[in-house]
Amino acid sequence: MKTRRQFIKISTAGVGAAALGLQALNMKGVNLLPDKFSGDPVSDEDLTPYPTYCEVCFWKCAGWTFVDKKGKIRKVVGNVKDPNSNGRLCPRGTGGIGMYYDEDRLKTPLIRETKQDGTQYFRKATWDEALDRVANKMKEVKEKYGPEAFGYFNHGNPGTHLEHLMRAYGSETNAEPAYAQCRGPRSAAYYATFGAYIGSPENTDIRDTRCLVLIGSHIGENMHNTQVQEMSMAIDQKATIITVDPRFSTPAAKSKYWLPIKPATDIALLMAWIHVLIYEDIYNKDFVRKYTFGFDQLKEHVKNMTPEWAYGITTIPPDMIRRTAREMAGHAPSVVIHPGRHVVWYGDDTQRERAMAILTALLGAWGKRGSLYLPESKHLPHFPQPKYPEPKWTWKDVNEGKYPLATMGITTEVIKASIPKYRYKHQVKAWFSAGTNLPLSMPDKRMFQEAIDSIEFFAVMDTMPMEVTGYADVILPEATYLERYDFLRSAQNRFPSIALRMPAVEPKYDSKPGWWIMKQIGERLGLHDYYNYNDYSEVIDWQLKQVGSSLDEMKKIGVKTFERETGPLYLGYNEDFTFNTNTGKVELYSTEFQSAGFDPMPVYTQHPEPPQSHYRLIYGRSPMHTFSRTQNNHYLWDLQKQNTVWVHPSVANMWSLKHGEKVWLKNQDGAITDFPVEVRVTERIRWDSVYMVHGFGHSDKKLTRAYGRGASDEKMITKYAMDPIMGGTGMRVNFVTFLKDNPRKENKEDKA
């Protein structure tokens, strides 16, 4: 019989010894670093630079890893030739060396074992043992259920190596939270409108814009490097910034207009802006006439969506709605309606993104200087390999006809398909994950737990012990990005560029590069033809030679830029252009949505209000951390050790909450945070909402610094609103209240 997969918190110690051991470890972690820095700063001339690009977030900024004469990594600095960083990394990139030095890293392969008394623990294993275990399980699943039943969750570079292995093995049953828990709605909406996706980095021409409009986007709190840099340039150029946010965010403080909107009402504001542009006759007529489809339907559709109508919904006064619409029109087409990035809020997110895309079109703010430019990236030929086998079913079939416009796997659906009680036609039996910490990036932890209890096997590759590694059967410790080769970065930007990541030092401990780990498994599965090289540097060198460079050259320069081949950055005046939509035009009225049975033009619907004594939970980013990935990084932990819950003074007064007081949060479904969180009493948040930075409240004790610091917003997100169009999980639909006393106090006394 399969035993229930327990979450393993301590690797080898018994439960009784854990508490003491942890304290000692904690003190050590802070005071007695094995890699203690001391000595005087040295000149860059005395250091050796190795090219890399950053893996702390998805922006992939290129830089240099500086190593001193003793072979120690001293710092990472941006590469001035790189269009993603312009030579300046963000705090996370600068602190990236903390990932390498983290003494809590995964150090050896680990295999889950069960003692006679039923308790489970991780046993240190050799690479051969761990790799054999994974490969044998993959063979077994393939024989019993077919390779498609092996689902996988991927993100970033490690995820790409995993994806290659799984595609060669025969599975395309994958999902990455970066789609359905992040930017999926934006893809669906902009594709439906312009026939083109907003890629990454976003093709927003913030540097040269006259007007930047942010709908909940918090540039400067997100450190999407180029955009932060360009917002600063826009401030220098005295561009108008308009920020729509229930919270006084960092960019709100830099805005000419801050619209403190009632949460969940953005579509009403956007439609009212569209109304003003059309009925005050200030939309971009040249653009609309030449390039768009469905203007008359749109005009009729928004007829009654007046600023006065929107006032009652959004709490933004009509004159402010008119003034900001006119300001945008005055700067058109040099306006960036920023499409945002994490946009899964309320379940009608594709429609909100559609409204933003329509607004963009009415301003003619597409393909023009200061709006959305026409990006270009360098195509890198694939290293020769056979075609991937055709799976019998994929993530798409898991959806069983739902979410017709999804273009990537939907994490919640792959998880549900792993739970027999939902009776999915295609059942997922085993998991592999790389580069994503599912328990802290998914809504509905209970469903995750149910799936974990149902699957037969779970392999995880990561650099750090994380909540997700606690559930693994086999843990594969990956070397950090500073210690490994990876695929070449080809970034879309104003001009194409490629960047090299190479090891600056040998991998620490017994960790290995992701490409090596996946190749080893592949070879055990007989997939040699897909791994026709000894070292990944051969793949890189081959690819570079196809585009007129070489590994030797790239080792010296790190980043290579190319001339554009697709023509100018902007559309010419009145230039003919066919959009990749059904009508060949920018679709104000979406024929794609209409034929799929969705509203062809966005409609505002009211969302549930917080129950009595509850507040809407809004979450966001801090500039010092990425997802739930960086909280244990010593440099970044020094900058921000925990999150707080932001509470408006009037609410604090009602609850007698003091600034700095610790509270537990409880949501509408009775879920309670694992740890207490400090109250931040601030005017920067509306009275109907509270705000937390995402990614804190780690429950894995192996993260000696991050454990128990702050509270997890994800733990409060038991409810989510599915976007019927593309399967996004709207997560700002949860409401929390405050518990001033420890809700688990009684339990503790019981145990004592």
Partner: protein, 177 residues
């Protein structure tokens, strides 16, 4: 020659990149820092103002930390940079008490440590690490006596303020409004 820094509060987003860049450049031990961020919020919802200030040693012309140092290890180097000679410092902490900006700390190795304007870089004609890393380009460094230096150009035509002017220290960090 007079080294100084101008910090554009209109552009700073308070990301603390300057803090980490300083730590890695200067091997500042974990738990300590030579520069830091202050967030200032004014007003009531929804009529609010907020700025971030990237702060560090003010390299004062009239530096109380130098005057009160019993060993002479705190001194003013060329270009007005206030430095501590680690070997001569006994860690008495008088300078820490005298500094109105709280810019100094006792290093675990026993001496007092603080911002050096990255003199090892400046001597080679480079900027301090914090200036070169800043993603908002809000830090400007250079020689006030040179009208073409970054700091002189940044101060031209802009309003600025200094911290704790009442202390009479003649500080050399200029915060642009």
């Amino acid at each position: 020659m007079r080294y100084a820094m101008a910090i554009d509060t209109n552009k700073c987003v308070g990301c603390a990149d300057c803090v980490v860049a300083c730590q890695t450049e200067n091997l500042v031990p974990h738990g300590y820092c030579r520069d830091w961020i202050v967030e200032k919020v004014d007003g009531t919802y929804p009529n609010l103002d907020m700025i971030f200030q990237s702060e560090r040693c003010n390299h004062c012309d009239n530096a109380p930390c130098v005057r009160c140092c019993p060993t002479g290890s705190s001194h003013i180097a060329e270009g007005g940079i206030v430095l501590v000679t680690h070997d001569e410092c006994i860690g008495c902490g008088a300078c820490i008490e005298s500094c109105p900006y709280d810019a100094r700390y006792v290093h675990p190795d026993g001496y007092v440590d603080k911002c050096t304007f990255c003199i090892h870089r400046v001597d080679k004609g480079e900027n301090p690490a914090c200036v070169d890393v800043c993603p908002t380009y809000c830090l400007h460094f250079g020689d006030l006596d040179d009208p073409n230096s970054d700091v002189s150009k940044a101060l031209k035509d802009r309003n600025w303020y200094v911290l704790a002017p009442e202390a009479g220290t003649d500080p050399q960090l200029y915060f642009l409004r």
